[in-house]
């Protein structure tokens, strides 16, 4: 792998940048692989990378129906945090957070992980109770998260309106300082480049159209738009499309796909130093390094694969943000898009084996899986390599729906993303 560094940049600049190599090989599918990962989003690519780097498995393919990183990885609001409520989730997201901290260096790709702080606002007593419960739980778990008065919150994010006479006053907030953002595209490309360099085949424009099973019912391969590929281990990491792909193996999942929208404003000089989320009023915002305000909301009301949503949903996000940040009312929306998020009944992911031998799932991250990308890939690689779930992901198996042992962050937390 051609190392990225300032000196390399300098050197190439004298050669008019003709010496740069492709970030990843455009591989063509081979006839068989030890493990095939379906889905070239951040999670799939990270899985492949860790299979190769930590488990020495390099006869691996990632098959992607379009272009890598073009799913939710390429359309999310990039919030990274680990201040979840339940011990199971804390372990999962904190595992990921630790990997974020050294990711640029590990991948030799600047993923711009920016621990600028995530403020979660409380607007009433119930919010405050819920958020403080998080703070307490996180402190016990060793995860940084602190409670702030409205004034402290405003000092941290000066454009926040904390006056008491507004419709939804800020009564307090929690701050996870290590939380922040990362550059979504760079995460996909960085993992792809590092995985490719270790021998992983990254196969784009290759849609899985069928899953083949042998007489025992175990996975034996896949059919794709670029031909058949044999494999005995298949990891589905297809986010919004998991029901569709799992359906190819006859599996019905506890899952529905909803549109989730995001938007950016025109770029402006820095006004917002951190990420702010407010669950009561369903909106969150940060400012990218390029200057756009990056804004997201809750899902649209109905299931859909259309990758777009309704205008009234966007309007409701923006009216809320204009209340919280009165100076943004005059700024302008530059682009509004939608993703397809896979939502489970308890809003927690599903990671692990399935009743179909050789078929493994990593899905159900819903509206909040970008932050989990490194951890998810790391733990899923372990699960695939060993054939059994890593202890951290064990509580997130498919079985939990049958036993009723759900990890329901949504009801307790009232906080998404």
């Amino acid at each position: 792998m051609q190392r990225f560094s300032f000196f390399q940049l300098l050197r190439q600049s004298f050669g008019n940048h003709v010496g740069w190599q492709p970030h990843w090989r455009a591989a063509a599918p081979k006839s068989s692989y030890d493990i095939v990962i379906v889905g070239g989003g951040g999670h799939g690519l990270a899985t492949a990378y860790y299979l190769a780097s930590e488990h020495g498995l390099t006869n691996i393919a990632v098959v992607e129906k379009g272009w890598i990183g073009g799913g939710n990885t390429g359309r999310n609001t990039t919030i990274v945090r680990s201040n979840y409520l339940f011990e199971e989730s804390e372990a999962l997201f904190e595992h990921s957070m630790k990997l974020w901290e050294g990711l640029s260096q590990a991948l030799n790709y600047n993923v711009m992980y920016s621990p600028r702080g995530v403020l979660v606002l409380a607007h009433n007593t119930t919010d405050a109770q819920v958020i403080r419960r998080h703070v307490h739980a996180n402190r016990l778990a060793g995860i940084d998260n602190e409670w702030m008065t409205p004034e402290q919150a405003q000092a941290f994010c000066p454009i926040l309106d904390v006056s008491r006479n507004v419709r939804y006053p800020v009564v307090g907030a929690s701050l996870q300082r290590r939380g922040g953002t990362a550059r979504h595209d760079a995460v996909a490309w960085g993992y792809a480049r590092a995985a490719s360099a270790l021998g992983v085949d990254i196969i784009e424009n290759c849609e899985v159209t069928a899953i083949r099973r042998d007489a025992r019912g175990a996975v034996s391969g896949i059919e794709t738009t670029r031909g058949e590929i044999a494999t005995h281990k298949l990891g589905l990491v297809t986010a919004g499309h998991t029901s569709v792909v799992a359906g190819m193996a006859g599996l019905k999942l506890p899952m529905e796909s909803y549109p989730l929208q995001a938007l950016v404003s025109e770029p402006v000089k820095p006004v917002m130093p951190c990420v702010v989320m407010s669950n009561s009023i369903h909106a969150y915002m940060s400012q990218s390094d390029k200057g756009e305000l990056v804004i997201g909301a809750g899902t649209d009301a109905y299931t859909s694969y259309s990758q777009r949503g309704a205008l009234h949903v966007t309007s409701q996000t923006l009216d809320a943000l204009c209340e919280l940040f009165p100076i943004v009312r005059r700024l302008r929306m530059l682009r509004n898009w939608g993703g397809i998020v896979d939502v489970t009944p308890d809003r927690s992911p599903i990671i692990g084996p399935t009743p179909v031998e050789g078929l493994y799932l990593n899905c159900g991250w819903g509206t909040g899986g970008f932050k989990a990308t490194p951890g998810s890939g790391h733990l899923f690689a372990h699960t695939l390599a060993r054939g059994e779930p890593h202890a951290i992901v064990a509580p997130f198996d498919l079985d939990r729906f049958t036993t009723g042992k759900l990890v329901d962050e949504s009801t307790a937390a009232a906080v998404a993303h």
Binding site: M112, R139, D185, K269, C322, R330
Partner: protein, 928 residues
Amino acid sequence: MTQPYRLPTGGRIARSRPLRFTFDGRSYEGYAGDTLASALLANGVHLVGRSFKYHRPRGILSAGSEEPNALMTIDRGAGRVTPNLRATQIELYDGLCAISQNRWPSLDFDLGAASQFVSRLLPAGFYYKTFMWPRAAWRRVYEPLIRRAAGLGKAPRAPDPDRYTNQFAHCDVLVIGAGPAGLEAALRAGRAGSSVILCDEQQELGGSLLNNSQAAERLLQYTNELRALPNVRLLRRTTAFGVFAQNFVALAERINDHLPASNKDMPRESLWQVRAERTVIATGAIERPLVFPGNDRPGVMLAHAGLAYVNRYGVLPGKQVVIATTNDDGYAVADALKAAGAEIATIVDLRRDETIAATHGGKRISSVDIRLPDNSLRRIACDLLLMSGGWTPSVHLFSQARGKLRFDVPLQCFVPDGTLDAIECVGGCAGAGLQPSPATQIVADGKSFVDFQNDVTSADIELAVREGFRSVEHIKRYTTSGMATDQGKTSNMNALAIAAATIDAPVGSVGTTTFRQPFTPVTFGTLAGLSRGALFEPVRTLPSHDWALAHGAVFEDTGQWKRASYFSLKGEGMRDAVMRECRTVRAAAGIFDASSLGKIEISGPDALTFLNRIYINDFSRLDIGRCRYALMLNEAGLAMDDGIVGRLAETRFHVTTTSGGIGHVLHHMEDFLQTEFTSLQVWLTDVTEQWSTFAVQGPRARDIVGELTTTIDLSPGSMSHMSLREGSVCDADARLMRVSFTGECGYEINVPSSEGARVWAALYESASRHDASAYGLEALNVLRAEKGYIIVGQETDGSTTPDDLGFGKMIGARKDDFVGKRSLSLAHLASSGRKQLVGLKPLDPQKMLEEGAQITLQSGAPTGSHAVGHVTTACWSAVLDRSIALALVENGRALIGSTLHVPMPNGDIPVEVTSPVFVDPAGARLHG
């Protein structure tokens, strides 16, 4: 001399109405009808901005909404500062104050331009390759530097004082774009009697006709006839920015930004949300720039922009003109400029194998080098270079509607492929009447800009391809081409062509990036519309609200309701007030406005059966005139809501829900009633706002209520705890329930809401006579916690079963089924070791616990220890004069009597596990 480049005659400006404006503090003059761009050009100002990355001097490229360069901040006073507006769209008004962006200290002398000298180091995606060492430096050093350098204009500092509005509209035909194609479509539909909306983003209808001095007459006829048709609504300054599912189209109308600051008696902008039977897209086509070295210098302009400045605005943007073109339009433009008095230095026709090899000049073009077919260079002096690389139809809206596109080879662009159900493209947008423009070779040594605003060069696109980014979507993201505020209106086709050439694939197979709304940027305020301040979210108030305001209430929000948290008497603080209210209730009585409770009247022959299936309780033995506390589960077996079910008659029940819960509960009930229990004859009526509900609680409650009713016998023998009577209170029809959420003898009086305020006042008078007072939510919370009464959402969190709450016995054991029952036998829900509701007493009675605090088995539990539970409610008990709490603790009931630990930042708080009932466990007060 003022306006040296203004032509003596011609144009659509009003020469009789001169206007003053300032640009970067300098004062200029223009005319009504000018845009800021045309007025600046009339004054010979070409340098109007600096580019995003390299801070290169930039001029005015276009005359329309596609402008990538001429971005300005308009300052209309505090809070009315708008960054990133296009000078080509800003209409001139008297006193307009424009400020250039992205430069420091000044537009002329910009230190940021130094980045040009290191521009070699800043190719596409350079930031992914460096700034990684040392690890902490990204956040501390590099990122802050990059952030400061990036961003265009500055956000306003003060809140926006302007107002915005909204309009839903329905019509037979919506026509977008009022060029000749749109005008004709609108006329045809209008004449046929259809209701029509015709919108155009410009201040004048006419589109390309505005640039054609010969078409003025025709245009006038069109517009006069349209104006005369009552079934046609004309919306000028109105951009159709989004097309959504099922032909739902959003328009943004700019209402007063073109008026002088004084004129404010109207909204700034309006959002039109239109549903039309049929939409006609007539958005025309956008001219393509040519990609050649130095094509971004001020004085390089699109050919038809030059035409527009001459014919529409009466401005000669340059006197010595070179025209570079790939099609015949260039010649027509040359004729027009010549007629206006410009000298046409030469026409470079790329079809003849000639190209532009370089441009020269500092902040304004002074000459060009032309590479002739024989490869020789010829330098020609000029002050204006007009270019035309053909036309790109504005298919944005059609494509947003998921219309298919096809690549048209003669036009070298994408055009609509057919029509959609209710949407068609006409005119230039459909590719009609556009000049063919053969693909020409793009020469690009030296900086040849593709995306002007984001400073993306042809070399950047080639680099992206070289680095393995072959999908257009990857190329876009890696180079940021097409991601600027103009969304690539002038650049996307060129970027595609270069990418296709580099990959060596046909352009048509490479495809476009996804078109997304908005067509041009839309103000957040416009999208928020009326929803602002008090209108952002309804404020619902209780019948006692005005009274409470006058009696020192401090309010808190519960959902949309404002409820009294406590009543501060003579400046009392919160704690004192709450303790006083608690003591008063237990010693005498208190009154509480509980009107926000949800209420449902359930009637029908099968009402009882229905209730038995919806709640965990068995109501079969609930007599008429009795009521019962009831818990409702969701199908997953988890507590969802609670309330009181009272039986009014054999087939009629009065049911309450939590304050926030009514919508949710009704929906849940209707769901089962309409789709599962369809054979039941039951009807649900939401009577939440029909009844005001006042709780009277305390040892003297009976005396207080007794003063207000003569029709209901309150004696304990007649009306025991959990009974329900209909009668009158204060001469109002009333439903009186003897229920308690405090552990005291208590009543809930329901009277019609129209009588609520009056009855409350009477109740307060009566209460005062008995030393009772009003109490608020905080006191209620203490009083109910002392009794171990739960609040759904506080003692439950969406993972709580009835047994967890100690309600196992409440479950109707004889019932075959009720919603949620089956799930209760799932392994985890029936397992041992679940969290159970208990009380906690800190060993140090003075130590308050915090709600949400975690609970551990051991003291000094190390980081990462398992929490066996958490505190759900923590308060100071006035009667016990100590701190108490409720908590959910694993196996909690078995742990009663033992000591657990609540880790806090400054040390553990040891607590004794107790029964959740702290006061009057035998219920003597309740039944008294």
